[in-house]
């Protein structure tokens, strides 16, 4: 188990460094970052001045090394647009995104797992078909469109919820649903498939042969085994969702890190964009690492090996 964790940790660190290099290289994608930064109307001298100011005239690897060294100490440079340290800018916004992510994954789990379980207990029933429909529709639903429909119905027509902003818990209801619905289909399908698989297994028959009642068979014997892969999927989805928060936050004008990313990209604020890509990647790396460890811990076959 310890060996597994250390190996997995090593991989995570290696992936993190590679990702950091890629997100740093994005800066050079346009050819000349100084020209991109100065804008189309800038003169040659202005560009030259910017180049020296930001150190773009030095070799790329040197710049990467410096950037990484600072980033490791929590310094991501200064935002071109806000003229503030990127780190504090992101720190201010990250709370909202994290809250949204936690709400989203909780919503997804609380709806998808029960639906998946019921669908597996009664295959081809009305509930199973409804669950299948919800999951197929969920995978095809453009989340920005879903968000706008919710705004039209619940904010404009019914007036129940505020259409945008961050102030109260009510501002988070619709974003949570949109973000959670994005993760729901996969979780539901996995729960259903896992439960179907487990329910037809020999040890479930053993439990019934012992005289256990159906509730006990379902929850103690079946779900305990079927939920193991779901837990790790949920952690992975959480990583994806934080990356996908950019769409949701922009629809609902929720001022989190996703919204900041959108603003920064639109304004060519590269230091902020680099930092955000790195941070979102780190979240994914950390979540998948935790997922693997959790998975190993939940599954006795892996725990003891």
């Amino acid at each position: 188990m310890l060996h597994f964790i250390l190996k997995r940790l090593g991989l995570a660190v290696l992936v993190a460094f590679t990702v950091s290099f890629i997100s740093f290289s994005l800066l050079f994608l346009s050819g000349d970052p100084a020209a991109a930064l100065a804008g189309e109307t800038a003169s040659g001298e202005d560009i030259e001045a910017l180049r020296r100011l930001y150190g773009f005239d030095r070799p790329m690897l040197v710049q990467y090394g410096e950037w990484l060294w600072s980033a490791l100490r929590g310094d991501f440079g200064e935002s071109y647009y806000f003229k503030l340290p990127v780190a504090s800018l992101i720190a201010d916004r990250l709370g909202v995104t994290m809250l949204l992510g936690v709400c989203g994954i909780s919503f997804a789990l609380l709806t998808a797992v029960p639906l998946g379980v019921v669908a597996a207990i009664r295959p081809n029933s009305l509930i199973d078909r409804a669950a299948l429909f919800i999951s197929v529709a969920g995978q095809a639903m453009p989340s920005f469109w879903f968000g706008l429909i919710l705004i039209v119905v619940f904010a404009i027509q019914l007036g129940w919820l505020p259409p945008s902003g961050t102030g109260t818990w009510r501002h988070f209801v619709m974003p949570t649903i949109v973000l959670g619905y994005y993760a729901m289909p996969a979780i539901m399908r996995l729960t259903r498939a896992g439960m179907l698989d487990v329910l037809s297994s020999d040890y479930i028959r053993t439990a019934r042969a012992k005289g256990a009642n159906e509730t006990r068979v379902l929850f103690r014997h079946a779900l305990r085994n079927a939920i193991i892969p779901v837990v790790s999927l949920a952690a992975v989805q959480m990583g994806f969702m934080l990356g996908g928060s950019i769409v949701v936050e922009s629809i609902f004008a929720l001022h989190g890190a996703g919204y900041l990313a959108w603003e920064s990209i639109a304004r060519n604020d590269l230091p902020t964009v680099q930092a955000l890509i790195l941070i979102f990647s780190m979240f994914y790396i950390v979540f998948t690492f935790l997922a693997d460890v959790l998975n190993a811990w939940l599954d006795p076959r892996m725990r003891s090996s």
Partner: protein, 300 residues
């Protein structure tokens, strides 16, 4: 003393339907697959014959006829789905929009399919160091937030159809690599691959004539899923204003343009979104259906 009926039954079992007949039966017996195929075929025809089908020029602005409602909301048949804020015919823009979505979906899936399949097959067939490297690259790719990276790169390079297609193509290869790697690993252990190796077939020959035909089923399923994925991503990028640029008639862009008038004219948002939803749904239904009918457990 032979029992005639039981022998007849046995004969039936031996000479049953041919694989082709069985496949046809499964395809036509699968509702989702059928619906998906028909809808996708229809939308593809619409995209191909857009110039003949569209009642108006999708780019032609007319300040006199702005924001006309669709016919079912009291509009006229001259603009069956109304006009947008610049007076452009909404139906024509939708029809041309099918071209954008399908083109992006198909070409992005093709690019990522080539990259991902090459990586996955190499990893699955050769194993060892190749596998380690490919698995590592998949991990790196999965760690990068797709929407964010795509947005950033498109913004830096400038939003055009070509850039969006290439960026998505270069980002969406992960699932191809994962699935093809696993499928190749399974196939590689089969006897016919060993047989080909024994008779001295070259590696490219084994990959092409032994491995590829046997993982093609899974490949087709991933192609459909990634096509849907690319179409949704393009729409999201365009919606955020950092994908395909105006005046190109992209459905995501249409939703974005209609967003400001959403309060009074919700159909401006509802119609392009619904079409997008139907297209992606059709592709997903087709993909799920293909997975069902080609799954090995359905073969006997």
């Amino acid at each position: 003393m032979a029992d005639v009926t039981s022998h007849d039954r046995l004969l039936d079992e031996i000479t049953g339907p041919t694989p082709g007949q069985m496949l046809r039966k499964r395809v036509f017996g699968h509702q989702g697959l059928l619906i998906g195929l028909v809808v996708l075929l229809l939308l593809t025809l619409v995209a191909i014959f857009a110039p003949w089908l569209a009642p108006h020029d999708p780019y032609a602005q007319s300040l006199m006829t702005r924001m006309e409602p669709p016919v079912f909301m009291g509009g006229s048949w001259d603009h069956p789905l109304g006009t947008d804020h610049l007076g452009r015919d909404y139906l024509s823009r939708l029809i041309y929009g099918a071209r954008v979505s399908l083109l992006i979906g198909a070409v992005a899936a093709l690019i990522s399919g080539v990259i991902g399949t090459a990586m996955g097959v190499a990893a699955g067939y050769f194993g060892g160091k190749v596998d380690t490297v490919v698995t590592f690259l998949i991990n790196v790719r999965l760690a990068m937030p797709v929407v964010l990276v795509a947005l950033a790169v498109v913004a830096i390079l400038g939003g055009s159809l070509e850039v969006v297609i290439v960026v998505l193509g270069l980002l969406l290869w992960d699932r191809f690599a994962v699935v093809m790697r696993a499928s190749t690993m399974q196939v590689r252990r089969r006897e016919y691959v060993a047989a080909a190796q024994v008779i001295g077939a070259s590696t490219p020959r084994i990959l092409l004539s032994e491995i590829m035909p046997n993982i093609a089923n899974n490949l087709i399923v991933v192609v459909t899923l990634e096509m849907a994925h690319a179409i949704l991503l393009e729409a999201a990028l365009s919606f955020l204003g950092l994908g395909v640029q105006p005046p190109t008639p992209s459905w995501g862009l249409m939703v974005s343009e209609g967003k400001n008038m959403m309060l009074f004219e919700p159909w401006l948002v509802l119609i392009p979104g619904a079409v997008l939803f139907v297209l992606v749904l059709a592709i997903n239904l087709m993909g799920d259906g293909l997975r069902d009918v080609t799954a090995p457990e359905n073969r006997s």
